[in-house]
């Protein structure tokens, strides 16, 4: 007699049913940052549901509400509903959900540390080999194809090939650099690391797989939008084409394909952000979704 079946059902809906629907819906591409927020809200909501289901399994005889009060009590929140008995079950009721979030936090930290180490080593090498251009606020590397990437983080670098300087028009170049600066300024690597962490823990889950993929794409779109603020659409689109085409000979290694095409179409045929009311409603949903499992667990009908 507890909320475990309801929570499991909820987790299945959020983890398996909703993600493909979200991938197919059009609005996240029109407002990418909010789209990424929703993916993260779903991931958080799923984690909360799993943690609460764990509580339900640990304390099968009690209504979850008691377990929750215990958790909140433990966190220093007194609801005036009386102290829960500090029995073994209560301790488990705290330990199990904490473990879910401890694993997620550890995974997140691990991703950040690993990525930072890679970037540090890379940046050190880039600083030795490249020439910093104060005008471009970027490091130029000798490379025979137009290409650009960024090393986000505390000591960021934007890296661009000298071929890009030769082959792109000054406007195109500026649009590309603006795109990279948006990644750095927006701290997109942290957003991606959070989804990476979730994916490492729930590897096979559609929400994890699609969420990671989509978050990466949405961050690119967010950076595109930033570049589009100061540059005409066709400038960014043609720059994108130039750079994609230059890399085509290595096409055998193509990964994730098609996302540039999606971005390009979006740049060339902009649909604009949805009505503020729609965005507001989506933001409200994103705020509520993480606490939904609590409602599922505590709904009176399931007592």
């Amino acid at each position: 007699m507890n909320a475990v079946p309801a929570l499991t059902g909820y987790a299945a809906v959020v983890g398996v049913v909703v993600p493909p629907l979200l991938v197919r819906s059009a609005w996240p591409h029109r407002i990418p940052v909010l789209g990424a927020v929703v993916w993260h809200a779903l991931a958080l909501s799923f984690s909360v549901a799993v943690a609460l289901a764990a509580v339900g399994l640990a304390v099968p005889t009690e209504h979850l509400h008691a377990g929750l009060v215990g958790v909140l009590h433990y966190c220093g929140l007194h609801l005036g509903t009386g102290r829960p008995d500090p029995g073994t079950a209560d301790r488990l009721a705290i330990a199990l959900p904490s473990a879910v979030f401890a694993v997620l936090a550890a995974s997140f930290t691990c991703h950040l540390v690993r990525a930072r180490r890679l970037r540090d080593r890379h940046r050190e090498a880039v600083d030795l080999v490249g020439r910093h251009s104060a005008r471009l606020r970027a490091t130029v590397l000798p490379y025979d194809r137009p290409a650009a990437y960024c090393l986000p983080g505390r000591r960021p670098r934007i890296v661009i090939s000298d071929a890009a300087l030769r082959e792109l028009s000054p406007e195109q170049l500026d649009a590309v650099l603006e795109h990279e600066r948006a990644h750095v300024a927006g701290r997109h690597h942290l957003v991606l690391a959070a989804m990476e962490a979730f994916h490492s823990v729930f590897r096979r889950l559609p929400l994890a797989r699609l969420g990671r993929e989509q978050t990466a794409l949405l961050m690119e779109m967010a950076a595109d939008d930033r570049a589009l603020r100061g540059h005409p659409h066709e400038v960014l689109a043609t720059a994108m084409y130039e750079m994609a085409a230059a890399r085509a000979p290595r096409g055998a290694l193509a990964v994730g394909g098609g996302t540039v095409a999606v971005r390009m179409k979006r740049i060339l045929v902009p649909r604009g952000a949805p009505h503020p009311a729609v965005s507001g409603a989506i933001a409200a949903v994103a705020t509520v979704v993480p606490v939904l499992p609590l409602l599922v667990a505590c709904s009176p009908g399931l007592g």
Binding site: C150, S161, V260
Partner: protein
Amino acid sequence: MRRLGHLEAEIMDRLWTWDRPSTVRQIVDDINETRPVAYTTVMTVTNILFTKGWLLRERQGRAWLYTPARSREAYAAALMEDGLGTSRDRPAALMHFVENMTPEEIDALHKALRSVGRRAEP
């Protein structure tokens, strides 16, 4: 720390430009043309570069002759390919402008560009 990194770059820069085995003395003398720097500092940093694998060295009399392990272009190409993510498992480490695509996908891009009446510059 930053200054040390800067000196590393100065040393590598000279060795790449000269393109011949050189001694620490030669490097110090060249840097001293623009600013004063202690021989021991350059020697230490050169040694660090050797330990890190950036430089090779061989003895000539009592001095070491240093050469870059690889050309600047070779390093740059390796870095670029790394940064452009030919390795799949580091999407969060570096972010690149476009991913690798197949020729068919490039074709589709070109068509997309043309279909809206824009001209893709050659």
